[in-house]
Amino acid sequence: MIPALETIGLKKSFGALPVANDINFRLAPGARHALIGPNGAGKTTFINLITGRLEPSAGEIKLGGAEITRLSQSGRVKRGLGRTFQINTLFKGLSVLENVTMAVSERHGAGGDMFRFAGSRRDLVEEAYDLLERLRLGNDALLPVKELPYGKQRLVEIAIALGLRPSVLLLDEPAAGVPSAETEIILNVIENLPGDIAVLIIEHDMDLVFRFAKKITVLVQGAVLVEGTPAEIAADARVREVYLGEHSHG
């Protein structure tokens, strides 16, 4: 089976610091896959390499079997790659509905239209609104994003990515910074993502990881330490060492 996403020998370093060290990785179609690892392991960097925000120094990236290593960020999105950010990356001054409509418009190739009013594409606005309603954000549609509580802003992050109808979705710590009382809402959204989307989630909260993921990859110092089912990872001595080691330092 062709993986939804694959990296082959992916490398990147910041100066002398290697942050992606020969990463070979496969994300199966429809996967529920988690990427874990200590702070600074290079998880976000890995996502930035996949999406084209960063350029690898070596290696290949394939999306649905096609090589995308040299493709622009927008080219990759057009081919079905969607992401969210660890730190909210939203149009803060715009309404929730506008945030999502922006993504929906781009997906429909309407983002560059200059000889019609944006409002004349009611279909796009409605599609964005439907998405918000499904995420229980319908009542906040007209609020500027910056006026939303942080937890809801995290949902907008996800809503924007879903507006792209991605085939591969990369979630970078979707519940980061959210008070624990509200993480359940976000987890609920993630658990109910359409089954045909291949999802890679970066997450520190192990409860969340074990609840969601069918497969886990552990990244340490830019290299894959081990990969396996949640049960295998939980039983792995090296993984324990990494996490315990981190605890004894911190």
């Binding site: 622009s72 999105v77 057009k78 409509t101 409002g119 499904r134 009542n139 007209l142």
Partner: protein
């Protein structure tokens, strides 16, 4: 669960949210106010029409700047380069080809558009301070070029002896500036219609998105640089149009059209009126030009003192400019009852 539409919920808020956004571009009555003033001024202040034309041209220039500065967030101090190229192109065309004005405007817009496109391809790879410096550098380059190429630009003496023909072969540029005023007003009106469509179009919304969060725009698949080069070129064409209008209405082009001061001045006008709101250009240019006309009569040096003071106040207390203050006042009034 989440992905099934909640069927029981009432659809009232949905309709109003979608409805509001779909209607956001509808013309509000207040948007016609500038045009009432433009038409009214023609009859009420006939002796001020030359100043009036200058104001209209500066409004057009400020609108062109607003598209890139206010909407796309491109900070530039080189907009006079594009204005100047338009002014010179119109002047050279009138002197050497024909004094027919409308084709002259096209020439001005196209010339400035080409310069905008080519320079945009280079400078829009950068951002922040580098971009700002590059816009300045290009202005200096072009100004020096115009200065040195005296055989075609007239150098420091400028382009003299420009004789414009009648507009449509009908309307002669009269000594009272009536034709010039109406001519500028009509061009500005058409540009306003276009700019208004542009900022409310998906393209215009995406510019706002780029200004608000360029990282996110990349992540939703926007070809960011292409959008920026496009709007920069459009803005250049409009700036060139403004420059061409200045040439046609004053029948002279001097090096000052390319000056750094002019770039700074137009930024000040826009900030004064309020950036990223289309109408800031109208308010800012009008207030600045009228105040300059009044205050500079008394003491030109002192004028810069007042402008400096005004800028400090605006930047510190009213980031939205005059229109931002009006907005705040209106909100206060509405909250009262």
């Amino acid at each position: 669960m989440i992905f099934k539409r909640p069927s029981s919920s009432d659809s009232a808020p949905s309709d109003s949210a979608v409805e509001q956004m779909v209607r956001s571009h509808r013309l509000r009555p207040l948007e016609l106010l500038p045009w009432i003033v433009v038409v009214g001024a023609y009859f009420v202040f006939p002796e001020y029409l030359p100043l009036g034309s200058q104001i209209l041209i500066m409004i057009l220039f400020a609108i062109s700047l607003d598209l890139i500065l206010g909407y796309a967030g491109i900070i530039t101090l080189g907009h006079s380069a594009l204005f100047g190229v338009g002014a010179y192109a119109a002047g050279i065309y009138a002197l050497h080809v024909t004094g027919e004005p409308l084709s002259g405007l096209v020439v001005a817009a196209v010339a400035a558009g080409i310069v905008g496109f080519v320079s945009g391809l280079v400078i829009l790879r950068t951002h922040g301070l580098t971009l700002l410096m590059l816009t300045l550098a290009i202005t200096f380059l072009i100004a020096e070029l115009a200065n040195k190429a005296g055989f075609i630009t007239g150098g420091a003496d400028g382009l003299q002896g420009i004789a414009m023909q009648e507009i449509f072969g009908q309307f002669r540029f009269d000594m009272f500036g009536r034709t010039a005023y109406v001519y500028s007003a009509v061009v500005l009106f058409l540009v306003w219609l276009f700019a208004r469509l542009l900022v409310h179009s998906p393209f215009g919304r995406s510019l706002t998105g780029i200004r608000e969060n360029v990282t996110r725009m990349h992540a939703i698949g926007t070809p960011v640089r292409k959008r920026l080069v496009t709007v920069y070129t459009i803005s250049a064409m409009l700036a060139g149009l403004a420059g061409g209008l200045l040439t046609h209405t004053t029948q002279f082009v001097g090096l000052s059209v390319l000056s750094f001061e002019r770039s700074g001045e137009i930024v000040i006008m826009l900030i004064l009126g309020g950036i990223g709101r289309l109408y800031g250009a109208f308010v800012g240019a009008a207030v600045y030009m009228i105040a300059q006309d009044e205050l500079a009569k008394a003491d030109p040096v002192f004028w810069y003192f007042w402008i400096g003071l005004l800028l400090v106040l605006i930047v510190m207390f009213a980031r939205g400019g005059i229109l931002g203050l009006v907005d705040q006042a209106l909100r206060l009034v509405r909250r009262k009852p």
